[in-house]
Symmetry: C2
Subunit: 141 residues, 2 copies
DNA sequence: TATAAACTTGACCATTTTAGTCGGGTATGT
DNA sequence: ACATACCCGACTAAAATGGTCAAGTTTATA
């Protein structure tokens, strides 16, 4: 079980954006430099964040991205969903003759994964960008 | 973020084993047939479960595997650990000049992943094989 | 209005992980 | 003896991951 970099990068970039987004848009180039994330990769990530209306873009010189909602409205679950980072609990093959759906012994562990999914998603639903901002201010190095 | 099949299979196989393990050992062949998991793959998994003293093996005809502990002593965290299914929260590169360790803006998200890891591990530490057995007997939703 | 900064889009790719398979063993009950 | 079952290491196809690259379009500003 693992968390991928894409999700981590998305969160890092948005925290960065939230901190510097006062009036002016923040360019991906700046975020790239500050966070050490490849610019090209950031572009992919922000394309998805934009589609999911988490950020807005301003094109042209002096352009960049701004948050589309206030930090406390942006839950981590929204971010992960946007970049296709989802909690996959390895579903049983739907049409398989054996294992989950075909047999008497079907899917001993189904309930378990469902429970876990809820557990994790609850965690992410209760965390917003704002929480991370605060957290980061306090533990600033 | 995802859970791999290996962890799921390990849990499924152990639940199966626990249900049929009264006096006689249970062969992987039987588990393979009942659960629809490849025999060869099961062997890999059980090799690890044995190394971690979760099961014992009996060789020869009529051989098979038996639990090495009672079901309520076997926590899911033990199982996952045994088959190398660990919660990886994508550590920041230790020696990177940028990102986590080199810069002032270091690792905005570190605390988050630590928190999540604890959260998930707690879940797995509080679940034992016995819980799954009961759950399955009652066919509860 | 020329230019450069910045977003936009889509294709491409190397590496790693996953989920197995395969082929040979060795031990042991009957 | 022999079938059943565990044991073990090497191999591999396919998918996911974490990017890169190329070729745009838009727009502020000098």
């Amino acid at each position: 079980m693992k968390l991928t970099s894409k999700g981590r990068y998305a969160v890092m970039a948005l925290v960065d954006l939230a901190r510097f987004d006062n009036i002016n848009p923040v360019s991906l180039r700046d975020i790239s430099l500050r966070q050490g994330i490849s610019l090209d990769y950031l572009e992919q990530i922000f394309s998805k964040l934009k589609k999911n209306e988490i950020v807005k873009s301003i094109r042209g010189t002096q352009g960049g991205y701004v948050l589309n909602k206030s930090p406390n409205e942006i839950k981590l679950t929204n971010i992960f969903h946007a970049v296709d980072e989802k909690v996959k609990t390895v579903q049983c093959k739907k049409e398989s003759k054996k294992g989950c759906n075909g047999k008497a012994t079907k899917c001993i562990t189904h309930n378990l994964w469902d429970e876990l999914e809820v557990h994790i998603n609850t965690f992410f639903e209760n965390k917003s960008l704002k929480d991370l901002l605060n957290n980061n201010k306090e533990t600033r190095v």
